[in-house]
Symmetry: C2
Subunit: 314 residues, 2 copies
């Protein structure tokens, strides 16, 4: 686990939130506009730690916008625009720049929004920071806080796909569809919005760092726990065949990059959530602890997943 | 001048604006909220290119927020919040992190706003990307476009101070007040807002990269030119005594970091602008060309100033 002065990335975030004061630990910050909320989020991506070597510049652009939009989706908001600050490295010739910015633009357009502006800079290592904006009605906004014991734990789509894509690429399975999932993530914009409108969801976040860390974050904010039923986890198509069931579940838990929505649903309103989008119930909210149940056994899920090494870490 | 494929930073920005389509070349992007505009800007800063070696981590935090707020000031907007994405390098121990984030928070508070959220990441070189938000009434928003020949060219405060501070530090004048100006820039938030309310300003931007580049940008957007009267340029206190008049004027023109507002005023409304804030008339808008008049001579001002080396630059 990443550490700095004995603190993990997530512990550092809590420390920083104390310095800053009044910052909510949601996927986006929200600003009261009177009639609705503006939600806004920023994510920084680097060549080495965030973009697999095989990524082309268009895909780097796509991913940079996609991960930022995913935070807007997690709040149940409608996207309103994206800004991109790009620190370009020496590899960035005109072709690279054209492709990168086309990737930004294409991803924003695909989700019905656009690039509003940005900053251009140079850097040893390619660095892209996106900032995404969205709007959401006051009574529809979804936050990480709100889950209650007894609520159903759900996910959109399938899990482990991005982790499987990374594995496939490293093992030389260049034709795996999971590689595309890794390189061209599709944030759940329509699903996030529909779930917000369903009125059935009590808490939500995206699982950019894997299910285990998402559950750890949700548990902390809600002072609650989770029980996941292993056999209900919707594993990405082809994943079990490729790596076996045990490794597939491990990828769902701890590999980053899936960008699904993890959310909790009032059990009496499950039908409404199911009408909003395809989802899978994978467990429930419990009083405490984060547990995986498989073949009658219950084991603790440790908060392991994709965390950045922060600063002077030993 | 920075180049990539034969293109300068500013030429690259124009190329990228074409790829993105519909992006205004203002200090902030603006989003129509119905009753008002949301303005939003992003700026990326790096350890080596943006933070002088003598800067302490609190000052790095202060500056990162200050440069982002300056863009909000340039639109005549009221600040509404700032996001910060920090890519921390190995030098960032807990003390560094506490000071950096205190600098973020103190600068935001000083200008009546706050840090809304952000992202934490790690990086070889310290990299901070801010994203600032503001609100401005629809009839008050100030843009780079709007200057007409005959309008007066004005600046807030004094020029050349940050350049002088850099010089003083390099030459070993460690007690110069200009060094503080370099390290702890003060964006003109109140002035920008008051100028917007005055109704006298026709175009505005901040001069983060020096006066010469600001005039070049304003000339391009307005398809107009500028005539600057050298003896009217308000040079930072102590600058001429330290480096001589010629070098002081050169610093005003081409050194980055002053974060004053450069704007044009309808000459019939000058009194209103003067009532809004301290300003100096340094010239006027002309049909074409960017000129400096000194002792009866008129010379062209070349667009030289602080530009980043972008990407694969030769």
């Amino acid at each position: 686990m990443a550490e700095c002065g004995g603190k993990s990335e997530r512990e550092l975030i809590l420390r920083i939130m104390e310095i800053l004061g009044g910052v909510e630990n949601d996927d986006c910050a929200s600003l009261d506009l009177g009639d609705r909320y503006l939600v806004v989020s920023t994510d920084m991506l680097h060549r080495e730690s965030d973009f697999p070597d095989i990524m082309n510049p268009w895909q780097m652009g796509w991913m940079s916008v996609a991960v930022n939009l995913s935070d807007v989706a997690a709040m149940g908001a409608e996207p309103a625009g994206v800004l991109v600050a790009a620190g370009l490295s020496a590899e960035a010739d005109l072709y690279f720049i054209d492709e990168l910015f086309s990737g930004f633009s294409d991803c924003a357009s695909y989700y019905g929004t656009r690039i509003l502006g940005g900053d251009l800079d140079s850097h040893q290592e390619l660095t892209i920071t996106g900032c995404s904006l969205g709007f959401v009605e006051k009574d529809l906004i979804l936050r990480r806080r709100g889950a209650r014991p007894g609520d159903l734990l759900c996910t959109t789509g399938t899990l482990g796909g991005a982790g499987g894509g990374l594995w496939a690429w490293k093992e030389g399975y260049s034709d795996s569809e999971l590689i595309t999932r890794l390189l061209e993530p599709e944030p759940r914009m329509a699903e996030g919005r529909a779930l917000a409108k369903s009125g059935a969801v009590t808490a939500m976040m995206d699982n950019s760092d894997g299910l285990a860390l998402s559950l750890s974050d949700l548990a902390g904010v809600n002072r609650a726990g989770f029980l996941v039923r292993e056999e209900t986890i919707p594993l990405a198509a082809g994943l079990v065949e490729m790596v076996g069931r045990e490794k597939a579940v491990e990828m769902a838990l701890s590999a980053g990059g899936d960008f699904e929505l993890i959310f909790t649903v009032d059990p009496e309103k499950l039908a409404r959530a199911e009408a909003a989008c395809d989802l899978t119930v994978i467990g429930e909210v419990v009083q405490e602890g984060i547990w995986m149940e498989a073949q009658g056994m219950r084991n603790q899920i440790l908060p392991r997943g994709f965390e950045h090494r922060i600063g002077g870490c030993r």
